[in-house]
Symmetry: C2
Amino acid sequence: MAIATDTGTEARAPLNRERVLRAAVDLADREGIGSLSMRKIGQELGVEAMSLYNHVANKEEILDGIVDLVVSEIDPPLEGVHWKVAIRHRILAAREMLVRHPWASAVIVTRVNITPTMMGYMETTCGILRGGGFSVDLTHHAIHVFGSRIFGFVQELYDDSEALAESPEIARMMLEQMSTHYPYLTEVATQISHDGPLVGVGCDTQFEFEFGLDLILDGFERMLAAQSPA
Amino acid sequence: MAIATDTGTEARAPLNRERVLRAAVDLADREGIGSLSMRKIGQELGVEAMSLYNHVANKEEILDGIVDLVVSEIDPPLEGVHWKVAIRHRILAAREMLVRHPWASAVIVTRVNITPTMMGYMETTCGILRGGGFSVDLTHHAIHVFGSRIFGFVQELYDDSEALAESPEIARMMLEQMSTHYPYLTEVATQISHDGPLVGVGCDTQFEFEFGLDLILDGFERMLAAQSPA
DNA sequence: TGCGCTGGACGTACAATGTAAGTGTACGGC
DNA sequence: GCCGTACACTTACATTGTACGTCCAGCGCA
């Protein structure tokens, strides 16, 4: 049976992480995230399920990867316009991506590690706000409100507070690295603590929730007053 | 082997839908929604997995059921207070439930059929707004904004437009039944269409999204102006 | 040319999942 | 006593992620 099996026929394109992730996105788009299995992805690529493990560690990494892929599809920000225009454009662009990939929200909310591309998205969003005159605090609140409007939540940047507390020198290195790649994000992340710059301290999610809620309620109150001027 | 197996020992409490759902909620609270399996629920009740199927149709029905259970835990609305106070209380109460049951949001967003209790929650929320002077349209927009703030989305009330279109007499009956149980909700659901009362027509989710977005952006703009009066 | 190492595809196997289908039994009404 | 109904149990199957071992092509090097 092994006579000149494939020689002469076009050799299939070599597998790699990129192709695996693209196949996964295509499959999720076509058949829904529920039927995204290793075997199906393999089938999509003409390969056995186990071959995928030479390029990704496990299924979680595939989910991380496809989130990263689709987030990178979001249109780049507008330059040199008023912050309100830029933010509106940016959020609607994110929404377009989510409509294009209906499974994405569900996967995003299950991620525990925030992906680099998502960090980039948040970074430029922070940049727009700071450039528009937002204080660091207000930028932080805004990120929460926008994030929960778009994705239904805001991921904690760092959940490993105790790990960082155990090795402060590593924490310091990470902080420096982060501040060169994501200066605005770092600024926001380190100033959210009311008593000094800290990393990994987490923020008061209850406060952020109520902040957004009151913003909305005030908005409706004003609309109501405008509509029926007693 | 079958000699007086259980006679004499206390007979275990009879299984029923209620007990199954409660066990499922307890398990999800303790071990997370990921490890909520039919076998584990059975184990929790001292029963085999397949026995559960005498009381629930399948796992989806269990998920529907536990959502219904936890939504019914939400504190009842405040009576006789300003709409803003009532709505604030109501939304924070919903959030408390979601914090108590961290798995709930994830399950809620996957439900396709809205449960009766959730309908009830929305109904009283509509009632508060209408009583506070909100127009039907504004109530509709508000439901979307609040819904997406709390649960991360708003479920379509009816997704079976074509089924209803095929049998208008059934649609009429359902509409009547609904309007007796959920008058405010019916009012909102039937008036959202710009050309006459229709059921199952769905609403313009893009418009609703932008409505909420602009509400938020306007809020921040005002805050910014207040903070730095140029 | 021959040899061995290594990357990567494959095959097998296992545990966990939801659930279809069939079996057994206790009990209440005749 | 008999029988139907309700309900728990048993077995079985397809599907999932993935651990582990095999096998082969291609490459560096003698």
